[in-house]
């Protein structure tokens, strides 16, 4: 049997999933210079809110096209509420401080959010496979594939295009670019830097929640689901170069295909191969594939 189509399709769907999570991390790092360890928790919260919306509003069967806009709505709600809240209350205090402080603040947020999720939704897993069954299966090269993962790919591509459009073709995007290039100068020129920070973090949160919400129908939504996501996303943004959206896209394609190949050929090294790739890429190009080289302190 030819396993190439399986590897390709598996790899691409895994890559799309990874892109949704890591695009937010790399964008937030680009603007705020903070590596957000709590990003996995935001992803998990997106999944929980999405599952809750479907259970509440889509009826017992969950077998309706209504479920898909509900998932999108969940991501928007999380992005608009939790994003600004976290940025205002917790992150604003640590801008411009040592990197370890930013890292630890988000680590603290990660610890807090993990328990908050447990307090709100309990420890029982949520199953919302309605949208997954809704889309059914399709035969490609003689093998039956679920259609739902392809939806994830489409969403990832749309999210990538949206991000590209926002950064390169909107007024907000220009201001973001200014802030990334030189915060102080941007402020001096009249750009409202704190507002850009807030909106950037909200956008990153929205992307994490979007990834979580649309993943919810594919798996059981349970505590700890953000734990492993975050290190995978770190691997992707490390490979692609921190702060580069294109880098994240390339990084998750590489990681997705490598993992799918490993699963089909050498299942034992599934996760190993991802981190090994990251180490290899960083040794070859210490700033990642698309990372900007930072100036040394003089």
């Amino acid at each position: 049997m030819n396993i190439l189509p399986i590897i390709l399709l598996d790899g691409i769907t895994f890559a799309s999933w990874l892109f949704l999570v890591s695009a937010g991390i790399t964008f937030i790092f680009g603007v705020l210079r903070i590596l957000n360890v709590a990003h996995g928790s935001l992803y998990a919260i997106g999944a929980y809110v999405g599952a809750t919306f479907i259970i509440r509003f889509a009826g017992q069967e969950q077998h309706s096209w209504l479920t898909l806009p509900l998932l999108l709505l969940a991501a928007i709600v999380v992005g608009l509420t939790l994003g600004p809240l976290i940025e205002r209350l917790f992150l604003r205090r640590v801008y411009g401080k040592d990197e370890v402080i930013g890292l630890l603040t988000t680590f603290a947020l990660f610890l807090i959010l993990e328990d908050v999720v447990r307090l709100i939704w309990g420890i029982e897993p949520y199953l919302v496979e309605g949208p997954f069954r809704l889309l059914g299966r399709v035969r490609i090269a003689g093998i039956a594939f679920a259609v739902y993962p392809f939806l994830l790919t489409i969403i990832a591509i749309l999210a990538g295009l949206l991000l590209w459009f926002i950064i390169h073709h909107t007024w907000f995007g220009r201001q973001v670019t200014c802030v990334i290039t030189d915060r102080e100068m941007a402020g001096a020129l009249g750009i409202n830097v704190p507002r850009i920070d807030l909106m950037a973090f909200a956008l990153g949160t929205f992307l994490a929640a979007l990834g979580g919400a649309f993943t919810a129908p594919m798996m059981s939504v349970e505590p700890g689901m953000g734990l492993s996501v975050i290190v995978l996303a770190f691997a992707v943004v490390g490979i692609g170069g921190l702060g580069s959206i294109g880098g994240a896209a390339l990084g998750c394609t590489i990681v997705g295909l490598a993992r799918a190949t490993a699963i089909q050929l050498f299942p034992e090294i599934e996760l190993f191969v991802i981190y090994a790739l990251m180490v290899a890429v960083l040794l070859w190009r210490p700033q990642g594939l698309f990372g900007a080289i930072e100036l040394r302190k003089i």
């Binding site: 402080i101 890292l103 603290a108 990660f110 993990e114 996760l271 190993f272």
Partner: protein, 320 residues
Amino acid sequence: MSEITTSPSLPLAVIAAFAVMAVLPLFLSDWIVFLIALALAKGAVVLGVVLLLRGGLISFGHALYFATGAYTVGFLANRFGIGEALVALPLAIIISAVAAAALGVLLTRFRGIYFAMLSLALSMILYTVLIKFYDFSGGTDGLSVRGFTLAGVTSADPALVQYYLVLVLTAAVVYVGARFLASPLGYLMQAVRYNEIRIEYLGASASHAILASYVVSGAVSGLGGALVAYLVGHVSPELAFWVSSGDFVFVAVLGGTGSVFAPLVGSIAFEFVKNYALKFSPNTWQLTLGVFLLLVIYFQPQGLWTLFTRLRVKPRWLRR
């Protein structure tokens, strides 16, 4: 983060603190003694993290050496039937130091957030290896470490022997750490934090200083891991997981980087907060720890250690 503050000689206060801890088992119940021993052993790992933090390097992967030390003990006990601490502990130190030397060569090229991410990736590699190679590492079950001899003698009260073993060895680690920080190499690490190019102009090598610190840091962390393996009696891949590394950085900042004794203060504070958080709010202990960490970052960013050094009228033995 600390300014340049190094005490070249160990203050008497630290010796006094160790003396107090030496008599603690006479007064306190077993579980507190165990908790202190565990905190001290983990404190050795935190000291390893602090040695690098002084150079401005965040190792978000020190669980790598922690797990290496612990699994050295686990392998010796399970695969070779060696439960002798005098064999296992030096071996844990050597293996961790060799691993740190090999990986340190790669890591010295990195600074800032990339140093953190690469060390994270390296520790996750160990984690995946430990999980997947079941025959070799016991997979997610881990390995149990039973039996424990010191110089061939099996003690009647192993908990007490372990406590004193940990106490003596952490005292040694603190001494080594203090000597290291007071050495030219230690001072060089502080300079690395501020300005590398100037170091190079002065004729010293920043990457050599970082490598040396990394090896010492790895060795110390390996010892801490080995001690924890004996104390807990079990090793599992979770030791190498990224959350474990996060905890060490957490405690390092909690204690502060102002002194070699600060990691132990931080570690003891952490274990007790964690213990009581688990006891009084079993569903929200992580939340409690997170809030605690945020409070320290916002209001005591130099770490708990500065609570001592900030005293307006310092006792003579606390003056540097």
